[in-house]
Symmetry: D2
């Protein structure tokens, strides 16, 4: 049986990545592609790399007959997403890739995004899409909220440590190195090749990045008390990928053990032997996440390095993994691609 | 039925790319990986990005029991390849990725490679591995010689034009832009990041690149007379990919028609509408090849731009395509991956 | 004596490059910086890398007292430039970096740029700014028209060959590899890091690039008959630099001799020994241009490779060289910087 | 008066960078270039970008007549450097760019470098070359030990904070992003373009990087008690540059004030307004260092970001600054170049 899939906001990078993944998925088929500003165009006009595929033309959201759709990926900008999703049929399974349903608390949403939420009741309903930690809820969910790509990376390396109580909750520092595609296909000066080549920049310094809303929500929930991490992302001259360096206070072996225990049966998350760290390119274009722990020279301190592909495991791959669960498919269907290296 | 595959020279980039492709191939399984200088190591020590796969450890070629192997990819350096291949069982199907069996004429081989061939009789037997043009021979071949990656790109844009007689055979110029991985995983100064970033260099200028041996052999064969193209490759700051710009004298529409006719039924080679050209990244990490034709402002001249991924369609993907044919599989098995973009 | 310099259009890359060069120029001083859309801002808000310099704030063009200015660099967009320049004092020395005064023939201007010229009489007056070939005229010029960066590169490798009559005028092919800054600091999708990394694309294919207007004008003038070259630029993943590969029919030694003769006394243009070619990075951030000639394997054909930095020798460095001449300074003043490598 | 300069180890990147800086230095002249393994070659054979300069050919160290040399830059590999320097004339002024004389304590040297020092008495004599903090000693020094490039960056952001007592000495974390040239012109697999493109990797994780020896020595000296920072460098896809992100516990305003006070009169080190951070490319190819402080959302914590060019301010530029002082020249002579951007 083939599942009919619609992608709303298909003209962004995450939309294109979903199409890439569906192209080799055994039981999914692209039934509709919507991009209001580009409705009427062929997908291959927007993304020539997809021209070999037999894809429907881009349409407006209004033109889609959702009764013929089994699952809808919503890759719209945040704020637009909530406006659209609340108008979709109540029976439609939805994986949202925007930021709109990641935070459950309307006040937290307003704090980080600045506006009142247009569908607060759906905030409650939505299941947070970090598959490895919300798997059972996702299976029966109607609306799953994809996580931030930085938020996913940070949580993969920290959740088991917070959960196991092996690190000092007040002394967590996350330093991320991220590629340009995390900012989407937006023509901004700072993302130009001429600007980024041979460059590196810290941004949202001092605790202003919106993904902190997710960290705060999730880590505090696990710990049963407020947890506020320090988080600084850095833009580096690459198109894809996130490498997260976590600085924690705790015994390195205990940190390692907590991670190994948490991910022992996970198909996509792998913990390296103690003392080794992964490289960003090791997971390129896949749904994999690698994590490595090293003891610092100062006892009681450890460095935890994690990496994933922001467009895949950090976004569209995660969305696909969740969709598989929602549709009753094998969780890894279409996602066991090997990394592209070099 | 699963085919047992051996890869000799598994520690190079083409070896790793073969492993990547086999990882999602429906009927192939990596049975043996040989790399004499790294025998005893795990493949994941050499290529950490493959650590999620269940692969055999690296061994020496001598340690492989070839009676249990259905097909052998030989990704050894040229000259070594011919020495090894002539010692392999006569019944073993072999796809060689080196330069050793591309040229049929021992004199031509010596001219371009400098040494006498160690297995001249096998030079005659080997089928040239440009699948789209030697498909039937490949199906029944025991030994297929993978083409040079530059040679493949140039032939895809030029063979139909020479065959159809629509261009001046004495006025063909090929200007290639190639990524660093074409030179393999060799620690050479000119391939260092510090040297290549923000750089571009022409190399083998003036008709000294060895892939000219293939161009000369094949184009002269098609034309029924000697054809010598002018060919200049340029190294650009990228890891993968070849973009070939061909300058030909002929009517652009006739050029377009010849290409469309040649590739109408090909699964991997696509000709764009007249006036459009492909970008190098459009085919990243796939077995696709895109070709575009543009008429020059001066009548009777056309520009033909072709692109492929040197490690995939230009090497390991082509090898897989040929192996599929040799094993009686669907030619596209395991090769319908969508490009990784951005 | 210090020359007071104004830069109009200071917020673009060529404006910033002029500031860089003036910073170490012995006799120039930045007296005014205009950028109408950013008037009121500090230059360091637009270009933080210039924050260590003591620069005037950005103003509108109207705010500048041109009576206190010795020379004005005009780095405005084309079309805007002609509108502004015709309003400037008649006694002001001007080096224009836009495309507006490169073509002397109003019809040619309209053909390539689409609109009627607003100051056709100034088109006649302007001296074409290719210093090495218009040196004497530039010394006494009031208005000098900076050349296109691609046009400069192509002319440096071809003018002496056309002038000396050593190549076939109907068989000239120019294949350029260029960095992203040639397109300026404009936030366009195709210039994004995520798009350009690992990519290469041909653009303006088929003889549609505007710099052809300059080639046609200059080469026909030298040859005394119409000359139309074939010219295809390619965008590669770099921020600065142009590498031009010229394919010509002529004796390589005669080509070499013509270049050596033309540039023997030039401080910035150097011809390599026959058989060697320069790399793009060899001239990074300088006013140098290197040229190398290689004989093709087919007698009577040669490859000529030239390289320069598009923002320096191809634009702001050339402008400075011309300004030096116009102000009676040593032509090389402030321009003898060594390349930044790696 | 022109100072005659010798460069030992001229074939490395720091040697080439010294030549670049001397090319526009008003009172220095390259009198001798030594590179034992390449003796007899022209410098332009090793570095074609320097071919426009009139440089002496490469010789062996033994061939240099040091009586005609005013100052010698020693850019040899560590361990070789100490062997060579102890044989040089006692009256020769030397700036060593290797690691050999950075640590004063023979035991510390052995701990970090593994071997006994060959010239422990010179370890005592050598002045640590961090100009801004050892200026007076450097003026009268015979032997100055250039600092590590990472060590320089880290110290520029941390020394004033430790000295002013405004941060917790036990809670200092340094996360560095560095370009490939920091590893020198060495043909190593991990530095290949194919490996580094689209990649990021942490290395020397856990407190094993040798520059920690310098941090420990200097910070403990300032603090009057042992200080051990946590330091993790990361290789990013760039050729030049270091961006250091420092995580400290202290009041952001106090941190800012300490930095402003320390560097108020420094020509090369600039502190940005509180709340702003510099980008790596802002200082490209110069002797500048920019530092910015941002308060974290959690009171009592601050992020300090510093950047410099590893080959210039982090190595050869620093060496030139020190040489200026040793020769009685203006400290900034030849070093006021503006950054190359983009």
């Amino acid at each position: 049986m083939t599942h009919k899939i619609a992608i709303l906001g298909a003209s962004g990078y995450t939309g294109a990545e979903l199409v890439r993944l569906i192209a080799t998925h055994p039981t999914m088929e692209v039934a509709a592609l919507a991009a209001n500003s580009k409705a009427g165009m062929k997908m291959s006009d927007v993304y020539p790399h997809l021209r070999h595929l037999n894809l429907p033309d881009l349409v407006t959201i209004e033109e889609i007959d959702f009764s013929a759709i089994d699952l809808c990926f919503c890759a719209l900008p945040h704020k637009t997403s909530q406006e659209v999703i609340r108008t979709l049929p109540e029976t439609l399974k939805i994986v949202d890739l925007s930021a709109d349903f990641r935070l459950r608390d309307p006040a937290a949403y307003k704090k980080w995004y600045g506006n009142d939420h247009a569908a607060p009741e759906m905030q409650q309903e939505a299941v947070y899409g970090l598959t490895e930690f919300y798997r059972e809820d996702i299976k029966s969910a109607r609306l799953v909220a994809g996580t931030g790509c930085n938020a996913a990376t940070g949580q993969f390396i920290l959740r088991p440590l917070i959960g196991a109580g092996v690190i000092d909750l007040d002394e967590i520092i996350l330093d991320l190195k991220v590629g340009a595609s995390g900012a989407g296909r937006s023509a901004k000066e700072l993302l130009l090749t001429a600007e980024m080549t041979e460059n590196a920049t810290a941004y949202s310094v001092g605790g202003t990045h919106r993904h902190l809303g997710e960290f705060d929500q999730e880590f505090s929930l696990i710990a049963g008390r407020p947890v506020e991490v320090q988080f600084t992302p850095h833009l580096i001259p690459a198109s894809r990928g996130i490498l997260a360096t976590g600085y924690v206070k705790g015994d390195a072996q205990a940190v390692q053990d907590a991670l190994v225990a948490a991910y022992a049966d996970e198909p996509f998350i792998h913990v390296l032997p103690l003392g080794q760290v992964p490289a960003m390119k090791d997971v390129r274009a896949t749904n994999l996440c690698y994590i490595g722990v090293v003891a610092d020279r100062r006892p009681g301190r450890a460095i935890v390095v994690g990496t994933l592909d922001n467009l895949c495991k950090g976004s569209s791959g995660q969305a696909m993994q969740n969709a598989n669960l929602m549709l009753g498919e094998d969780e890894t269907a279409g996602l066991m691609l090997a990394p592209v290296y070099p």
